[in-house]
Subunit: 146 residues, 2 copies
DNA sequence: TGTACACCTTGTAGTGGCTACAAGGTCAAC
DNA sequence: GTTGACCTTGTAGCCACTACAAGGTGTACA
């Protein structure tokens, strides 16, 4: 209570600046129960935050940057808040499942990229539209697709 | 007019089956002016289609599978419909710009994947939550992030 | 001719994770 | 007291659909 850190209070705009999460996103997280409803301190009815909230939002931002969904972020936060002596099996499960999803997305995008590249490479861009290999590929050209 | 192909008429459901595009998506494309409003033929007011529409929808489906946006699809269709003797410069431009976007997305996703993998590899999943490297990385661990 | 039933119609809401307003309220400083 | 920056809630928009509701139509068969 007297640690000189937790009793600084911040507005949502200050929290936004400090955490790197926009004020609108913070309100959105509150609506979506990713973070609890902020206390409305002081004389008025504005949301008030402290250093703990800065850390929390930074946690969320980093998780989002790694591509975790808000559902996953909620779970990770709950695990982070839970019993500190429990093994981090669930954290690992969530992270590995997410990695697997990212790998899938990469594989799909890589295949798409290869196909797109193949289609493009057949066309120099100077022939008449009627002979364009890109368009003929999309029209069901002979090269692939069945 | 008497080529035995163009005068077969199809319902939206049949077009969906033949083109591989759902009936709901076809109606959506009509609303979004990706395809023109269908004729309402026959005795009632149902949409009627022909073989030409099957080809059109297949074109759209293939372009979508390659990740082109509906805006890009509209442009590609217009070029495909335009003067057949014009050079396919614009087709090439659209396709190459799209490829560049895909490459960007791949690079970002690859970097994210590497970072996620790094974070995960530091944690065997059996240590207490309090010592979990995944959570400490998200909390602003010492390894990176600033 | 009746009727069952598959299919179609339009319109609306939801997806994810926000962003971008609009219209008005509050706070702090001067 | 007044300015002006900041905050409030609520709503709409993004993308490319999907899903559903409530009702209309087409056709096959009895």
């Amino acid at each position: 209570m007297a640690n000189g850190k937790a009793d600084t209070t911040l507005s949502i705009g200050e929290l936004a600046t400090r955490s790197g999460v926009s004020a609108e996103a913070i309100r959105y997280y509150e609506r979506e129960h990713v973070v609890p409803a902020a206390a409305r301190g002081g004389p008025g009815r504005y949301r008030r935050y402290d250093e703990y909230d800065v850390e929390r939002l930074q946690f969320i931002r980093r998780a989002r940057e790694l591509g975790f969904s808000l559902d996953e972020v909620r779970e990770l936060l709950a695990l982070n808040d839970g019993s500190p002596s429990r093994p981090c099996t669930d954290v690992n499960r969530i992270a590995r499942a997410h990695l697997a999803q990212v790998d899938e997305k990469l594989a799909r995008l890589g295949a798409l990229r290869a196909e797109l590249d193949r289609v493009i490479s057949e066309c120099a861009g100077v022939v008449p539209v009627a002979d364009c290999r890109i368009l003929s590929a999309l029209s069901g050209g002979p090269a692939h697709e069945r």
